[in-house]
C-alpha cells in the first residue's frame, strides 16, 4: 500500500507518523508538501499533528485552505481513507470533512499526558484491529481539543455510531473526571458518514513502540496496512 503524509509549515508530528507507518507498512510514506496540489495516487492520506501556520487565525483554519487540501477533500469524498491526528483533526473540521469544531481546552492550558480511550466503532479501516469496548492508552498533546457541536450533530454522530473513541477511566467508564479538555460527550475522535475519514485528538503514533511506554497505538497502523494491502 501507499500512504501520503501531508506536511504543512508548522507540522511537527509528520516524522512521528512516518515512523509509525513505516513500521506497520514496511515502506516509507510519501511526505507531501502542502503547497503542491498534485497529490500522487495513494491508498491512505494522513494529516499529522503540529501547529500548521502557527495556529494563526484558528488552529487548522489556514492549512484547510492550502493548495493540496482541495485534492484531499476530493479523494476523501471518493472513498480514500483520510486520518487526521490532533492538528490534523482540526484541519478536517475546518475544511468540512468532519462536523463540529475543536475549541480551547476547558482548563485553558496545553495538556500532554497519556489518556484512556474506549473504542466505540471497530467497524472501520482504522479501528478493525481493536474491538468495541476495548480500553487503549495513548497520549494527548494539545491546546485546542475541546470538541464541540450542536446537539443535533452530536445526536446524529451517536445515532450513526460515528464516535470512534471516547475519553474514559482505565475501567472504561466515561466520566467528567476523565475528560481532559471538556470535549462534548467525552468525544476523542469521530468519523464521517462514509466512515473513511477519522479525526482524533490523541496520538496513536506516539505509543506504537514498547520502548516509549506502550504499543496501544500500533493496531491502528497495522490495521490500515492489512486492510489497504493489495489483494494477494
Amino acid at each position: 500500500m501507499k500512504a501520503a503524509v501531508i506536511v504543512s509549515p508548522g507540522s511537527n508530528c509528520d516524522r512521528d507518523v512516518q515512523v509509525a507507518l513505516r513500521q506497520s507498512i514496511g515502506r516509507d510514506p510519501i511526505m507531501h508538501w502542502h503547497g503542491d496540489p498534485d497529490l500522487p495516487d495513494v491508498d491512505l492520506i494522513v494529516i499529522p499533528g503540529g501547529f500548521s501556520y502557527g495556529d494563526y487565525l484558528r488552529a487548522g483554519a489556514m492549512a484547510a485552505h492550502s493548495p493540496v487540501m482541495r485534492e484531499v477533500v476530493t479523494r476523501a469524498n471518493a472513498g480514500v481513507p483520510v486520518l487526521g491526528i490532533c492538528n490534523g483533526f482540526q484541519i478536517l473540521t475546518e475544511c468540512g470533512l468532519l462536523p463540529g469544531v475543536l475549541m480551547r481546552n476547558a482548563g485553558l492550558k496545553f495538556i500532554c499526558r497519556d489518556v484512556d480511550l474506549r473504542v466505540e466503532a471497530e467497524d472501520t479501516v482504522f479501528t478493525h484491529d481493536y474491538v468495541d469496548g476495548q480500553i487503549i492508552r495513548i497520549p494527548v498533546a494539545h491546546n485546542e481539543g475541546n470538541y464541540f457541536a450542536d446537539d443535533e450533530t452530536l445526536n446524529r454522530l451517536d445515532g450513526e455510531n460515528r464516535v470512534a473513541f471516547r475519553y474514559c477511566t482505565p475501567a472504561g467508564e466515561v466520566t467528567a473526571a476523565t475528560n481532559p479538555n471538556g470535549a462534548a460527550r467525552n468525544i476523542a475522535g469521530i468519523l464521517n458518514e462514509n466512515r473513511n475519514v477519522l479525526g482524533m485528538m490523541p496520538h496513536p503514533e506516539r505509543l506504537a513502540d514498547a520502548l516509549l511506554g506502550g504499543t496501544d497505538g500500533r493496531p491502528m497502523f497495522d490495521g490500515l496496512a492489512e486492510a489497504l494491502a493489495p489483494a494477494a
Binding site: S11, N12, G50, Y56, F110, C112, R206
Partner: protein
Amino acid sequence: MSGITPEIVAEHGLTPDEYDRVLRIMGREPRITELGIFSVMWSEHCSYKSSKFWLKKLPTEAPWVICGPGENAGVIDIGDGKACIFKMESHNHPSFIEPYQGAATGVGGILRDVFTMGARPIANMNALRFGSPDHPKTRHLVGGVVAGIGGYGNCMGIPTVGGEVNFDPSYNGNILVNAMTVGIADTDKIFYSAAAGIGNPVVYVGSKTGRDGIHGATMASAEFDDDSDQKRPTVQVGDPFTEKLLLEACLELMATDAIVAIQDMGAAGLTSSSVEMSDKGGVGIEFDLDLVPVREDAMTAYEIMLSESQERMLMVLKPGREDMARAIFEKWELDFAIIGRVTGTRRLVLKSGGEVVCDIPVPPLVAEAPEYERPWVPTPPSPLLSATDALAGIDTTPIIALAGLIASPDLCSRRWVWEQYDHMVMGDTVRRPGGDAAVVRVHGTDRALAITTDCTPRYCVADPVEGGRQAVAEAWRNLTATGATPLAVTDNMNFGNPERPEIMGQFAGCIEGMAEACIALDFPVVSGNVSLYNETNGAGILPTPAIGGVGLIEDVRSQIVSSGFAAKGQTIVLIGDTVGHLGRSLLMRLLAGSDEGAPPPVDLAAERRNGDFVRNLITSGEISACHDISDGGLLIAIAEMALSGGIGADISVPDSGIPALAWLFGEDQARYLITTISPDTLLAGAADAGVPATVIGITGSAVLTVGDGNSISLSDLRNAHENWLPEYMAAGNI
C-alpha cells in the same frame, strides 16, 4: 559633531573609564550608533567582564569534546559519526517583567544557538527558580513562565523532557529562567561562526527587524528597582512558528555546501552576530542597513543594530550560492536579504542612506573589552549542625515528616508543570519527566542521551565551594542513575551584583567547587552562560550555578533501568555512606523553618567509586531499579521510587547510633538506592569494590512501612505528593 554627553554615556551603561577606552580605540568621539555598539558589546551580558577571569578556571577539555566554550554551543562526540550540541542560557530579567514572552524567547534563543551549529534540536530542558509561594507575584510568574516555555517548545515540535523548579524568598524579585537545548548533528556537518572569504555575501534571514528588545542585553546587566515594570518594551516577542520555519530552512540549506559561517542573532542582535563573525574570522564586514528587512518605517541605524527581534540569523555564503539559498528561504516564506560583504579591513562598516554611520575596528572592540578581577571575599563557613542538636525538642514520626515533605513546595510533584510541555513529540522520549534524568533516543538508533539539570542553591549560599561541587556531582549522579555515562556539562551561573565583594566571593567559590568536581568526574564544561545583577533593591538571589548534564547510553534497549520499583519482593540496597547530615536539609526547613549549618560534604572520590559501581550494575543488567538520593534524603527517594513504580516497600532503620530522622532524611551525598533479586552477589561485589552497600528493605504491597508499624498507603502518599502544586495554582483563579 554628534554631541555625546556624559549623561548619554551613562545611559549606555558605560563607566567614564570605559568611555575613555572607547575614545582611545576610535581616535575620535563616537557616533551614536557606534556608542550603542560599544555599549552592548561591553555589557556584562555580552562581554563577561566580571566573570571571564573565573570562568577560565573551569576544565573544558576531554578526548570527546569537539568544541568547548566560545561558540554558540558546546559540541561533544557521541560516536557513530554523531555529535551532541548543547547549551543552557538564562532569560531571567525579561521573564520577571513579562513571564510568558520572557520565557518563550529564552527557549527560542537557546534553540537557535543549537541549530545554528547544524544540529536538529531533540530535547529542551529548563531550570526554574521562583520566589516564596506566599509572595503575591509568584503564582502569576509560575503560570506565565510555564505557559511560555510550553508555548514555544510545543509549537516548535521539540519535546521539553525535564527540568527543575524551586521556590525561595530570595527569588521574590528576581526569578530565574534557565533554558537548555540539546541537539544532534553529524560530526562532519558542524557549522561555526567565523566569517571568511573576502567579498563573500553576508545574508540576513528569518523575521524582519523591529524596535523590540532594544538594549535587552544592557537591561540584563543591571539591577532591578521598583520601576522595573517600565522596562517591558525591552522584552522581545517570540514567534515559534517563524522559528520552526527558520529551523527547517536552515537545516535544508546546511545539507548543501553553501554556508561558510552562520550565527544567530540573540542578545544584541545584528551587532553581536556581525562583530563575533568578523572577529573570529579575522576579517571585516560591511553592511548597507537600507537592505535589512524591517518591520517598521524610519528605523534608524542605531535601532536596527540594537534590536533584539527574534528568529533571525546571519550567514556568510559561498559566492554563487545565493540563488539556491534564496529559493530555500522563500519556500519557507522567510525573508532573505544580502545585506553586505566580507571585507579584508577588520572593520565593521555600516552605511545608511548612502552615508557611513559606523566604522569601528573590530579587534580592539572585542579584545579590549573591559575585564575586571573584581574584589571578593570568601563566604564565612557555617558551623556543622549535629543531628542530635538539630533534632532536640522535635517530636514527630518518620511518616508524618514524610507526608509533610512530600507535599512541600520543595518536593511536591511537578506534574502540573510538565504536563503543559509536549514531552513526547519526535517519538524518542524513553524516560519522561519526573525521574532522575530524562532519556531521549538518538533517532533511528538504539543509543540514547540522558539529560538533567541540577543545583542546590541553599547549599551554595552556605558554602559556595561545597555547593559548586554538589551541583556538578548531583548532575553526574542523576545521569548515572539511568545507566548513562556522563560526558559533559553546560553551566548557567546566576548570581547577584558582582560589584559586591561577597557576591563575587560566592561566584569564585562556586567556580572552584565546580572545577574540582568536573575534573574528578571527567565531566568538562563545554558551554555556558552567566547572569549577574540578579538583585532587587540591593537584595541578591541565592547563588545558583545551574548545571545541565548530558550522558550517553550505548544500548537503550538493555542498558537502562527505571527509577521506580519494578516488581514486588525485591531487595532494596542503599549504596554509599550515611551519617545523617541535617545541615541545610529540607527536613530542618520543614520541622524548624530554618536553613542552618554547613551543607553536606561532597567526597568526589566516593562519588566516582559509588557511581561507577552502580552504572556497571545497570549496564550489566544486574539491578531492576535505581534512583539517586538528593533533596529530602533516603526516605523521600524511597517514596519517589514507590510512587513511580506503584509498588510499596518495607524499610527497616538500622541500629547505627544515628537518630532515625537523621538516617531517613539526612542529605548525605554519593548515595543511590537500587533493587535486586540477588542481594548476596551484589553485596559481595560492593565489598570487593570498596563501595558501602546495605540492605535496607524489600519492595511489596501498596503501603510504605518504616520501622515497626509506621506506614502510609501509596494512595495517601500520592495525593499528598500530587495535590500541592495544582491546588496552589488554582487558588489564584478566584
